[in-house]
């Protein structure tokens, strides 16, 4: 059974006299362990879809069943708990708390944990940061980190409660090639460990690291295809570094 099941989902925004139909009747199934890229032109409703999947927003109409749970009737508290327990959300703009250390940022979901488990918050947050390769940056605040590092902190935050789903809205949108490859290899690793990932991207090269590509236009899904030649981001990253090593050594980019 699909862990994400959308049926006839619509999301309309009313702005003054105008009704913007951001999503117009969407059906979508995502199975456990999938890695889905959502593509499409700007304004086609990708972010609206992600917000719906992430329980940050409620559809105007239709049904969204997440892990067997119908969300249409959920209260705002239940929504908050779903976001806390089951979903890790990664944003294009990182959305880290400023003037707050990486460690504290990653601890944030644990802060709102309601399961009552007596887990050691610090240790878990630290482990999550180590996993994304930032074990030596625990006390750095976002403005002391590069974009790629900030996004890795955001991924650590998304992972810290070990949710089943990772949702990412253009996670590499603000990053250069090397950083993008780092993030994608991280995602591939997480996917291989069983996480279901849905990710928005503009770039076909990035979509090539996923397993399935959905294309949207005007609030509808216009194509839905598996990735035929799936690439490994870790390999591409190594190759990219090798190619640029000489350049970096000669005093160029580092």
């Amino acid at each position: 059974m699909a862990v994400i099941a959308l049926r006839g989902v619509k999301r309309h925004y009313v702005v003054g006299d105008i009704t913007v139909r951001a999503i117009r009747g969407l059906d979508l199934d995502v199975e456990s362990g999938e890695f889905v890229a959502v593509m499409g032109p700007s304004g086609s409703g990708k972010s609206t879809l992600m917000n719906t999947l992430g329980c940050l927003d409620k559809p105007t109409e239709g049904s969204y069943v997440l892990g067997g749970l119908e969300t249409a009737t959920a209260s705002s508290d239940e929504f908050a708990d779903i976001r806390n327990d089951r979903i890790g959300f990664v944003f294009q703009g990182f959305n880290l708390l400023s003037r707050t250390s990486a460690l504290e940022n990653v601890e944030l979901p644990l802060f709102y944990d309601r399961s009552g488990s007596k887990l050691d918050q610090k240790a878990r947050a630290k482990a999550a940061l180590e996993e994304v390769g930032l074990g030596d940056r625990l006390d750095h605040t976002p403005n002391q980190l590069s974009g790629g590092q900030q996004q890795r902190v955001a991924i650590a935050r998304a992972m810290v409660k070990d949710p089943a789903f990772i949702l990412a809205d253009e996670p590499t949108g603000n990053l250069d090639t090397e950083m993008s490859l780092e993030i994608m290899s991280l995602f591939q690793e997480l996917n291989e460990r069983g996480k279901t990932i849905v990710m928005v991207t503009h770039e076909p090269e990035i979509a090539a690291y996923t397993r399935r590509v959905i294309t949207m236009r005007d609030g509808e899904i216009v194509s839905d295809e598996p990735v035929s030649e799936r690439r490994r981001a870790a390999d591409d990253l190594a190759a990219w570094r090798e190619r640029h090593a000489g350049f970096a050594a000669s005093g160029g980019l580092s």
Binding site: N51, G54, L56, D57, S76, D77, A80, D81, R83, N84, D85, F89, F91, N95, L96, L97, R99, T100, E104, L108, P109, F111, Y112, D113, R157
Partner: protein
């Protein structure tokens, strides 16, 4: 979310923005501080009034005209003489007239002061001592001598370092010879200088300086404290007879003992204290509005933070409590700083300015309670506003 987590998060957020937090609680700091200081000064002066009156001796009796228009005063020099000769309980008695804002010219300058017409006993009744020269005598009174005893302030203002004894002072154009200078009693509380005074013989004052022959008050010492009630009754009886009042008539004079005088004096000080406290209380409320203002700004400024917290699972209640906790902690911290500041100021006022202050624990407790209430009351609206934000709207906020 546990209370300790909540307090920790709120404290973190307060210290992350030290300057803003300080400015936010400044209103509370000033409010709490001024309430405590005002009440401390008020009750300090109340206490010192009481002490001063008590130090005059607990066997003091005073006759005053009844409250009301000046014309109602029927106390005369004759009443004083009658009391002196007929009462068996009095050890000292003096009629008193008082004129304030009188211009005294002498030596190298002029000075506006209060002139008292008194009898020799007055020095005993008040326990005032002479630093130099002599006190007024009954001979001075009989002769209506133009002699004066000066308080030390007047002596210094007019004669500086010179010896005032034997010099001439013109009081309201009448020349008086200075025969004595009082020992300085120091500057009193309420800013009233107790040494800014000139004493002249009662008869001289009544004849030269006053328009009518009345005395304004009669002050007496009773021989023993346990005879106060008897003395009071006797004085009342003598004056009733002297004023030809029938039983049942309203008395045209007031006899007051120590306790009455203290009550009257401290009632005034008490009113003043409450007034000051009320004004300071208003500043606390203004401080609270300041907190609300900054919290509202802070909700707008931190819309994104709220969105982020919601996106990782914060419920409405969590956000509400976080902002509420922040404003309460800010208020309490402000209150705490205000208390420390008030203790310092109260101490400095009495140590360096000679102003008596009494810091009361009740007032401290009340102002802390008030500060917390202000935090909750004025923090609630902004906190609710934050909690009611919709997650994606908060996240999209630039």
């Amino acid at each position: 979310m546990t209370a300790s987590k909540l307090v920790r998060a709120a404290t973190r957020s307060i210290f992350r923005n030290k300057m803003r937090s300080f400015l936010t609680s400044l209103g509370i700091i000033i409010g709490v501080c001024s309430v405590i200081v005002m009440v401390a000064v008020g009750s300090g002066s109340q206490d010192s009034i009481r002490k001063r009156i008590e130090s005059m001796g607990t066997n003091l009796l005073m006759v005053m005209p009844p409250r009301g228009p000046r014309e109602a005063n029927r106390l005369s020099m004759g009443d004083v003489d009658k009391l002196r000769s007929e009462s068996s309980y009095l050890s000292a008695i003096s009629g008193v007239v008082r004129l304030s804002g009188v211009k005294a010219v002498g030596g190298s300058g002029d000075w506006s002061t209060s002139v008292y017409g008194v009898e020799p006993d007055y020095f005993d009744i008040k326990g005032w001592e002479l630093g130099s020269g002599e006190a007024l005598t009954s001979v001075d009174l009989q002769r209506r001598a133009k002699v004066a005893v000066l308080g030390s302030t007047v002596a210094t203002e007019l004669f500086g370092d010179e010896d005032p004894l034997g010099q001439t002072v013109r009081i309201a154009t009448t020349p008086f010879t200075v025969i004595g200078v009082l020992v300085s009693k120091g500057s009193g509380n309420n800013g009233i200088d107790q040494d800014d005074i000139a004493l002249v013989p009662l008869d001289t004052a009544v004849n030269r300086l006053m328009r009518n022959g009345n005395v304004q008050s009669i002050e007496m010492s009773v021989v023993r404290e346990d005879l106060m009630d008897e003395a009071e009754a006797e004085v009342t009886a003598i004056l009733t007879e002297a004023h030809r009042l029938s039983p049942g008539d309203d008395l045209d004079f007031d006899v007051m003992n120590q306790a009455d005088i203290i009550a009257t004096a401290s009632a005034t000080a008490e009113t003043l204290t409450s007034l000051l406290a009320a004004i300071a209380g208003v500043s606390l409320i203004v401080g609270g509005i300041g907190i609300m203002n900054i919290m509202l700004v802070s909700v707008t400024e931190r819309t994104r933070e709220i969105g982020i917290r919601m996106s990782v699972g914060a419920r409405k209640r969590d956000i509400l409590l976080q902002f509420l906790a922040e404003s309460v902690i800010l208020s309490l911290l402000g209150g705490l700083i205000g208390i420390l500041l008030a203790l310092g100021i109260s101490w400095a006022l009495s140590a360096f300015m000679g102003m008596p202050t009494i810091v009361s624990v009740d007032v401290i407790a009340a102002s802390v309670g008030f500060a917390a209430a202000v935090g909750i009351f004025f923090g609630f609206y902004p906190a609710r506003k934050a909690a009611n934000l919709y997650p994606i709207d908060a996240l999209r906020y630039e």
